[in-house]
Symmetry: C3
Subunit: 380 residues, 3 copies
């Protein structure tokens, strides 16, 4: 079949989602409801909740369409498509938030995605997968390469913050909407973004070309049980999904400030926990699904690989986009909570992936760390 | 024999202490001396030193009685008893310190116990054990699970401090006796404590039930050479030991403030170094004893497991106790020295246990790190 | 031959340099040029650049002479000579900088050497070595021991900074020339330095005597193709090289302040990037040379071992020297950039060496981290 090649990658994110289950489609009704509430100028909370639910099926459709297109394109371009569009929903949400001037929400959702994938997604996968088994195994070399990328990313993501702490004006407060930093740290952020993107491009070369065997779970093909889509259908669906994600995202983002206030949560908490979970709902589901079927290689790759993509691709792309979108460029200066969370999450990712084994208790520990961080953020 | 089961656990702390040696009993005379000095209102320094010496045999007796009772109870309850009472002396000392309002001494002794077990106990064990051998081996999987628990604990222990640093009033100064934090961080501390205790309970399930083979050093039974105690005798001894530990602890704690002043050491140093060493004297001895006999599995488990127990059991229990004891609740906000020490100690524990091997030089390095930290604390 | 023994060590730094290539000699003409410019009171920038180039061949000659002398001395003394003189050029440069009162430049160059060896040297070696190979292997046990030493060193190097942050006057600013700290942190620094040196001495005992087999790359002898030097010639050359290094260093250091101003770089950047690269040029070349020939054991040992030597030997020696040289003692209090860089670099070293494998992409990631840090320092 033509489906054999593209799934042989480390950054495989949404692959197989619909071949196993169509559950996100159950949330489709929330799309028109959210639009209706928005047009009716209903309460921000209602708009926020329904549009959050509405994002999930559109993101899932986007993932499916990307997969199908990739499957038709041969391994090289297919892999590239898959990886590039892998985080498109997160990027689209963030784009609209940038446009609204909610830079701190953007940064919070980036960090929330990284820590959510490592702690919540991987934790749930290891817990569910380990319930019926003594232990589960995955390839520690592939996971280690991706964890290593995360460690690089952490250095890059915290370097501008160290700069601000040592010679600048300090970190942003978590209750800020956006902070206009001076040009030095903005230029530093752009430079760091370019280094991250170049490294990311080199990583594609590494995982798709020179070392593609490393990221090759053998049990991939069997999962694609549904009829493959034609190229025409894939492109059409990708376009529809893109428009739908954009629409839902704009509605979602437009309601964040007001909704968070009326619910009594800080915009920071909404960005780092709620938006991050919504934007990564597909990964959550797929990783748990594979873990339950004892395909831990795929589950771990989805969790760690998705985090690495956010850090090395989505974050720098948004920094560069911010040069053209919004009132002023977004400096890569994270607040103290975000710095602490991302450093701890990546250290945990390094520790957890180094053995190539997991148990239910390891999964539970990851969830406990997520709970501790979430609780801390709740009190902000 | 009935002694076969309970020692098959990762959190085994004081097992075998007396089967190999009765040395702590040599310190028994300090018990009446401390009581006499206390009644005679002698100098605080003399009271402090004698009661510190007097704690050691009472803690040892408590450990022995717990072991014996556990050995009579079958693996499940026995293991639970052993683990729960494993840190009873530390808890009792801390309880009296809480009662005296010495919250910062309590927190210092918690951190001092964690770093002391990792650096001093494990370091001395690896050094002594490695002197006559090329290298020593231990099961890296079991040690890795416990180190992973420590990493979770670190996140939990530093989260409230990050909260205070970012949006609160800052960390406590090392020369404070107690700091009354606002209710947000107190509620956060309670929440974190509950998450830690739930994780600890899950860890018991993991190590005593679903994965008990992981923590099964085969060479355990042979060490229990002495005649086992009856249940009646065990319970009686446990009661006597509990009263004795409490008495010594109350005397010890009552003299800390005055004694530290007259010796010229800060209460912080006394808590983080002196009290921590006294409270863990039994672990120190037992771990070195096993290392010298090339039973590194046991030695490493005692050191790392004891640290994990302090972090995941003793610390949260004390936070919850502080709701009822003392003037105001104890927030889990550590000072900068404590945060630095616990993060570094746990990183070192992760590094050292990941290979499953040790040499004398590794032990010496751990001791050197302890010396550096101790020296730093000395100048406070 | 007598050359067999001394290269069997982990801290082997400049061995084999000239047997494979005499390229540093191409820079010899810069020595008289630098002297001439200095005497002619030419522009500081010209003096700085030429003396920086002139340091490289003198350092290389010093390395060669040390090697030759070591090869004549038998394994014990030979290894000791090699290790002790291994960082002589860095020490000599730093000595003159101390003498000029440029304590912050000294500290910057120490940190720059540590992070440069880990990120730049090891990164370039892994990238070049991995270009033509699927992956390269090295002994993870030996690399792990040295990485462990680095972790100890990090604790020691940041402990006085934690002290200053918590109870002192804060960290030095990166644009300071020298900061006169109070006597507590100076005494703490001296104490830490002594602990580091004792650990270093124990490490020599470990690597040269009790566990010398661990640091024994078998493919060493074959590289020594040139005719060995006599003892007389070795000593003479060592003396000549020492004088030449000293002369170049004094000229270099004398021009740093003025040159950095006229080039538009901060003295901090010059110390942490430029001086560190010049002082370690020999290591850079040799590590890449071995990596290209698939001798990753040697390449990794040079990079990590050289970092460990800087941290455990050069840094404490300079602290002790500063008691006698310069206006006031140099406290081991690093600025925020230096602390961040050294912690991150050592964490990366631990991660990269733990697998015992490398690929070109891992090398590229290390270089990317170096680029991010260098860029950050550029904006200071």
């Amino acid at each position: 079949m033509t489906t054999g090649a593209p799934e042989r990658r480390g950054f495989d994110l949404r692959r197989f989602l619909f071949s196993s289950s169509g559950w996100p489609y159950l949330l489709v009704p929330f799309i028109p409801i959210a639009i209706g509430l928005e047009l009716a100028h209903a309460s921000a909370t209602a708009i926020f909740l329904t549009s959050a639910a509405g994002v999930i099926p559109t993101a899932a459709l986007m993932g499916r369409a990307t997969e199908e297109l990739a499957a038709r394109s041969g391994p090289g371009i297919g892999g590239f498509l898959n990886v590039t569009f892998g985080n498109a929903p997160e990027l689209i949400i963030a784009f609209f938030a940038l446009n609204e001037g909610l830079q701190e929400v953007v940064k919070a959702s980036l960090i929330g995605s990284i820590m959510g994938n490592i702690l919540l997604v991987m934790g749930a996968a290891m817990l569910v997968g380990g319930l019926k088994r003594e232990r589960q195994y995955f390839d520690r070399t592939a996971a280690g390469v991706t964890s290593g990328m995360l460690l690089l990313a952490v250095v890059a993501l915290i370097a501008p913050a160290i700069f601000e702490l040592v010679v600048g004006t300090g970190l942003p407060r978590p209750d800020a909407e956006a902070v206009n930093y001076d040009s030095d740290v903005e230029r530093l952020s752009v430079g760091v973004a370019i280094i991250l993107l170049l490294t990311y491009a080199a990583g594609l070369l590494f995982s798709l070309r020179t070392h593609k065997d490393l990221f090759n779970p053998e049990h991939a093909a069997e999962d694609h049980v549904a009829e493959p889509w034609s190229v025409r259908r894939s492109v059409a669906m990708l376009a529809i999904a893109g428009v739908a994600v954009g629409l839902m995202s704009e509605i979602l983002v437009g309601s964040i400030s007001e909704a968070s206030e009326s619910i009594g949560l800080s915009p920071f908490f909404v960005g780092v926990i709620v938006v991050a979970i919504v934007g990564n709902a597909a990964e959550h589901w797929v990783a748990i699904y594979f873990a339950a079927r004892d395909k831990m290689d795929l589950a771990v790759n989805i969790a760690i690989g998705s985090s690495a993509q956010i850090a090395l691709f989505a974050a720098p792309v948004l920094v560069l986009l911010s040069l053209f979108v919004g009132d002023f460029p977004m400096a890569l200066v994270f607040n103290g909570f975000e710095l602490g969370a991302v450093v701890l999450a990546v250290l945990i990712a390094l520790q957890v992936t180094q053995e190539g084994e997991s148990t239910w208790f390891e999964g539970l520990q990851l969830l406990a760390v997520y709970a501790v961080l979430g609780l801390t953020f709740y009190f902000v």
